[in-house]
């Protein structure tokens, strides 16, 4: 027997009404209906759900959010803030999940196709694009599936000569829920580098971004995926990314979360659907203020001879809260799996906390898997050494934080992005934070 979750959050009522309107207008299909039923069964997550045990979002859900979004202009200065100096790229800007159709930095090379998901929905059958309908117990992914209206489709049939810099700007003058839906397909032998920057400016208003990205990396294809989250207070980001990897494909993910947004919850799932794939997941979260930053990752080894390596590092300042949950699932057929995971945390704020949880489930018997998790503080010896050379305490701490982050930042292949990230880290550690 299944029971629908009746939840008292105003947002819950909003989405139920919205779906009712869509249904009445005949604008839902089987996939949306299934997803919405699923969402109604699950409701919004609470700490009673294992996947949300350390991430209490009740206080954010208590705010009401409208679903109707009028067209917004870009707030002054926001786009400039997104620029990565000295990065040669194609830039695409999305405002509240809607792309204006422009590409800065030249014409996209042949074989690289970009269009709005809203256009795709009109032009083709939904089913062709969005083949994966199984969002299981993912509360927010099901909600997105039921109600999304737009996002960005990227298709790569060959190598792209420059990275794509996708700038997600979020803005609102009243509390708002936006649900972008993106689909990226990197076809056989193709190679692509995508950098996503997320920024927001909402004044007193709150914005809830429930974003869902589905990525397919086909046989022998390569995708470098960098995510830079620098949204501002008032933003609540829930970002679900599912990556499906085919034979001998390579997926590199670099996720950077910097102080700003009230809530960041990243669900990154790499599903290794065929053999001999390679996956690297790197993450760095620097949290401050009252921020709640949660990274949930899943590496799903379904087939044999795949390699995955994961390194997430966290720096918790002030009274911020961090959560890391790294699940590695090795199926019975996934022999010769190599799966490594590491999570290191530097807890600096006296009232900062981190919950770190590695989760390994292994059903194959010929595998090499390891995981490790550490929580530490500044090395007093290192701090004294730097100060004894004339370096002030705040600068010394900033240097040590940069050094701690180095293992992750050095993995970035683009020098311009690496300097930009290092700069951003330094910028976010003023004396009073340290």
């Amino acid at each position: 027997m299944s029971t629908t979750q009746e939840q008292s959050f105003p947002l819950y009522e909003e989405v139920v009404n919205e779906f009712g309107k869509l249904t009445a207008a005949g604008r839902t299909d089987k996939a949306r209906q299934t997803a919405f039923e699923r969402f109604r069964l699950l409701g919004f997550p609470s700490i009673k759900n294992e996947d949300w045990k350390y991430t209490n979002i009740t206080r954010f859900l208590k705010d009401g959010y409208a679903l109707e979004s009028p067209v917004h202009s870009i707030p002054a200065g926001l786009l400039e803030k997104a620029a990565i100096p000295a990065l040669d790229c194609y830039q695409l800007v999305l405002v509240n999940g809607v792309w204006d159709g422009k590409v800065k930095g030249g014409e996209l090379p042949k074989g690289i196709e970009v269009f709005r998901v809203a256009e795709a929905l009109k032009a083709r059958s939904n089913a062709v694009l969005f083949e994966d309908k199984k969002w299981g117990n993912q509360h927010f992914a099901n909600l997105n599936e039921a109600l999304y209206t737009d996002g960005l489709f990227i298709g790569a049939d060959g190598d792209c000569d420059k990275p794509l810099h996708i700038v997600h700007l979020f803005t609102a003058d009243h509390n708002l829920l936006v649900q972008p839906r993106h689909v990226w397909v990197v076809n056989t032998n193709a190679g692509l580098s995508v950098i996503e920057s997320t920024l927001s400016a909402t004044g007193e208003a709150k914005i809830w971004v429930n974003s869902l990205t589905e990525i397919i990396v086909h046989k022998d294809a390569r995708l470098d995926h960098t995510v830079i989250q620098t949204a501002s207070p008032g933003a609540r980001l829930v970002q679900h990314t599912t990556v499906r990897q085919k034979k001998q494909s390579l997926y590199n993910s670099y996720t950077f979360t910097l102080p700003g947004a009230d809530l960041v919850r990243n669900d990154l799932q790499a599903r290794l659907e065929e053999d001999h794939t390679e996956t690297h997941l790197y993450g760095l979260y620097l949290a401050a203020g009252n921020q709640l930053v949660d990274n949930h990752t899943l590496v799903d080894h379904q087939k044999a001879s795949c390699f995955s390596n994961e390194l997430y590092k966290g720096v918790l300042l002030e009274q911020s809260t961090g959560v890391f949950n790294g699940k590695v699932y090795v199926h019975k057929d996934a022999q010769k799996t190599n799966a490594f995971q590491q999570n290191n945390n530097l807890v600096i704020g006296k009232r900062a906390t981190i919950d770190s949880k590695p989760e390994l489930e292994i059903y194959a018997d010929d595998v090499k898997c390891s995981h490790g998790s550490t929580v530490g503080q500044f090395s007093e010896e290192a701090l004294f050494y730097l100060r004894a050379r004339g370096i002030g305490e705040a600068t010394a701490k900033a240097l040590l934080i940069n050094a701690f982050a180095f293992d992750v930042t050095e993995k970035l292949k683009l020098g311009a992005v690496e300097s930009y990230i290092n700069q951003s880290i330094r910028h976010h550690i003023p004396a009073e934070h340290a």
Binding site: S379, E380, A382, L386, A388, G390, I391, E393
Partner: protein, 261 residues
């Protein structure tokens, strides 16, 4: 330059310095010798401002100011330098970036503009040559994977870059082979001038064959029990430290006798 008066200090409630008096003038090189556990490195730590050491009595004046009131970074900016006995490895902080940052903060404190990239590079090259420090090491992470000798030479390279008025070398000779010792000593000798001073803490006389001190002090049980010239170091080399223990026991007996009477 440096005046230490009746300095007492403790670490973890254990008294380790029990009344040190020492005056160092510009242009002088002082050697501090003594057996293990006598308080040599503790003195260096107290002067550099290591927080685990607590001064319980006495005073230290550095270039006319109260040294003990200053944070470690202020002491460095005022011109005090400690070459560490065990230099710390800091992966992820490059040697160059570290030195640039240190130099910039020291110069800012002295109201000097920061060096531009070209000036810094020139200075760095000049000092590398002076102390025979491998250029490749300069670009690596701070002391990471350096051999013991390379770490010590890096300390001397930093000393050359930061040009302090008073440098304290804490057992810089320990763990060095004879060639490295010569290079380190030659570097120090080149940096000696009438305006700066050195305190060289060492267990052995060996280093003092290369860096000739003006004064030699023997530290024992938290006190300077004997001061002299270079000859004292040679005498220690010959006689060892055992005679100190006896002399000190006698002295203590006398003191206690006096108190008892």
């Amino acid at each position: 330059m440096l005046i230490i008066k009746n300095l007492h200090a403790e670490v973890e409630d254990k008294q380790i310095l029990k009344g040190i008096d020492l005056t160092v003038n510009p242009g002088e090189v002082h050697a501090i010798m003594g057996p293990n556990g006598s308080g040599k490195s503790s003195l260096a730590s107290v002067l550099a401002g290591r927080e685990s050491f607590h001064v319980t009595e006495g005073e230290v004046t550095f270039r006319g100011n109260d040294l003990l009131e200053m944070d470690p970074e202020v002491r460095a900016r005022e011109g005090l330098f400690l070459a560490f006995q065990y230099p710390i490895e800091i992966p992820g902080v490059s040697n160059v970036n570290f030195l640039k940052t240190a130099l910039a903060e020291i110069r800012a404190y002295r109201n000097l503009p920061p060096l531009d990239a070209k000036e810094f590079l020139r200075l760095s090259r000049e000092k590398q040559k002076l102390v025979e420090f491998d250029a490749q090491l300069v670009n690596r992470s701070l002391n990471e994977g350096f051999s013991g000798g390379e770490k010590k030479r890096n300390e001397i390279f930093q000393l050359a870059m930061l040009e302090p008025s008073l440098a304290i070398l804490d057992e810089t000779d320990s763990g060095l082979d004879i060639d490295a010792l010569r290079i380190v000593a030659a570097g120090v000798n080149k940096l000696r001038s009438k305006d700066n001073a050195f305190i060289i803490i060492t267990h052995y006389q060996r280093l003092l064959e290369y860096i000739v001190p003006d004064f030699v002090h023997v530290l024992y049980n938290g006190r300077i029990v004997k001061s002299g010239t270079r000859e004292l170091a040679l005498e220690l080399e010959e006689k060892g430290y055992d005679w100190l223990r006896e002399e000190s026991r006698e002295q203590e007996a006398t003191t206690q006798g006096a108190v008892g009477a």
